[in-house]
Symmetry: C2
Subunit: 343 residues, 2 copies
């Protein structure tokens, strides 16, 4: 079973040269819509009494279990964003928390031992509350954003890292969290000094990188404090296991909102479907997430996933497989032989 805790929201999205659009949004919504391609996610979140019946029906029809979706008097979380011309940078014009301001996630008793747990982007103390309730999770992933990397949230966030199996961050976030400017060094720092076990660095249209520690994992439940000085007395830096997932190229990107949560939904939905969390399965899951994210940017809002039939997904996954990789053994063979012709 796949459990997701995060936000459900209404977004107003402004894309250059288009009319503003209001759509269903929020990290948990995008995640569940994407994960529902492979699994039946359970959603724990809060909405206001303005939450529309057809939006609830959309999630139900996607197979999302809404038993943990709390409805409270007040307004659903609203976000208003405006994208820059390159569709990469964006400004938040307004954020109205509504009922989300009072959100204290309560995990229904029958959901406290999920196979896979996704802690979507909410305050680290709330993510910690979820972790404390869902102790039986088989595999835990966490997403967060820059605003939780400053005091007083920062310390709470750092304490979660050794307790999660997979951390989703973008370029800027991995730099800010680690204090290192280069992405490689930043990711290694999170593994070596901050207790993270695996870090996915999301790079938008450039894809994603997976960094995994090659040293033995500490025992689950242990909580080693970050040791920022460890680099000073280390002679040989660790060499993390690195895997590269270039983005599936999309000619007509409509709206990048939700791509990161869709990516995570694809990754964790696939892991839940397989029921194994070994390294190669995780890499397969990241390829699946990459393809899922490519669908998410082709339209506004998570309803776009209704168009992603199994055969459409499979066709794109096949194409992605054709796009990546090379014949390593062929190349090594060529280089091991003397040049065929001398001129």
């Amino acid at each position: 079973m796949l459990l997701c805790v995060g936000s459900v929201a209404y977004d107003v999205i402004e894309i250059p040269q288009r009319e503003p659009v209001e759509v269903l949004g929020g990290s948990a919504t995008w995640f569940c819509a994407a994960a529902s391609l492979f699994a039946r996610p359970s959603l724990v979140a809060v909405v206001g009494d303005d939450f529309r019946e057809d939006d609830r029906a959309f999630l139900e029809h996607r197979g999302v279990d809404l038993a943990g979706l709390e409805r409270r008097p007040g307004a659903t979380f609203r976000w208003h964003g405006r994208y820059h011309d390159d569709l990469q940078g964006r400004d938040s014009l307004a954020t109205e928390l509504g009922v989300f301001a009072e959100f204290r996630p309560v995990i229904p008793p029958d959901l406290r031992a999920p196979d896979v747990l996704f802690l979507g982007n909410i305050a680290p103390d709330l993510q910690g509350l979820v972790l404390a309730q869902a102790r039986g999770a088989g595999f835990t992933a966490l997403d967060t954003i820059e605003c939780w990397m400053e005091p007083p949230h920062r310390d709470r966030l750092l304490r979660l890292l050794p307790r999660t199996d997979l951390l989703f961050l973008n370029d800027d976030e991995v730099r800010l969290l680690s204090g290192e400017r280069g992405v490689m060094r930043a990711a290694r720092r999170l593994l070596d000094d901050f207790g993270a076990r695996a870090v996915v660095v999301k790079r938008g249209e450039h894809g994603a990188m997976l960094f995994r520690s090659t040293s033995p994992a500490p025992e689950r439940g242990r909580d080693p404090a970050p040791s920022p000085d460890a680099t000073d007395d280390r002679t040989a830096p660790s060499r993390p296991d690195i895997r590269l997932f270039p983005a599936f190229p999309i000619e007509s990107v409509v709206d990048p909102t939700g791509a990161g949560d869709s990516f995570a939904g694809g990754v964790l939905g696939y892991l839940d479907r397989v029921g194994r969390f070994d390294g190669e399965t995780l890499c397969d899951a990241l390829a699946v997430g990459t393809v899922v994210a490519s669908f998410s940017v082709e339209g506004f809002g998570p309803r776009h996933f209704d168009r992603v039939t199994p055969s459409a997904f499979e066709a794109r996954l096949r194409r992605y497989g054709d796009m990546v990789g090379f014949r390593r053994d062929e190349v090594l063979g060529v280089l091991s032989r003397p040049p065929a012709r001398e001129s």
Copy 2:
């Protein structure tokens, strides 16, 4: 035989927080130093009488044939660049053409039918001069930069596209040359409307993308004029063959100068070594070029390639092979079976 025509220069490189460094540079120098890992390139270029003997000796020791390296009275081409803090953007502080201003490439008669020809970044009319002399080339690749995409050079450059097999451009260049803002659309336009056969889009630390036309290649020697209006009456856009080559991640980038030419040198050096130019061999060559470029940024100047032993190259190529790809058939198998567990 691999022939390269381009510039040989002395560069002054300023990297933030470092003293300025003067090093051997120029597109042809970098290209040949990189290609010499796999082949014995022949260099056609011009230097002044200030060209240092030890630089000539370096190229000879790399196995570069210097019969076509002209020495003229005057100064060797000099470039002074300053990198921004991110090591991506850079400013040209000074460019002194010296003897390069009078360069009229003359291909020695025995080099006029190379297996592989690289037209390094020089004025398109000079690249055209080389093409006219080296009509017997088996495979021709061209690199260029933004300054040749404005009148009066632009038309001369466009006329070369249908006469080359592979075009090397970076993100900005592919956009400027095509007039399209998105990289995908831009590359497709070059294939569909400008007569290019294959385009490599270089994206620096994010790697490279290969776009190849899937429509039959026009006959060599034909010179279809670009038809900028062709998109308007086309109903179904072509679907180019796309291959993705994420960069080999480097933790300590010292100097990115020459990475693009090193990449091209690795690609074409490998193609010359294999002696075949089919699609899969080209993809292997792009993986080789990706690994070669990763070495080039680890130090200043092309002498750094002396440290790249065959076993160092092979080890990094193996690592790169481990970093890319996923188990497509495994994933398709998982998705074709019903979920193992329902909860």
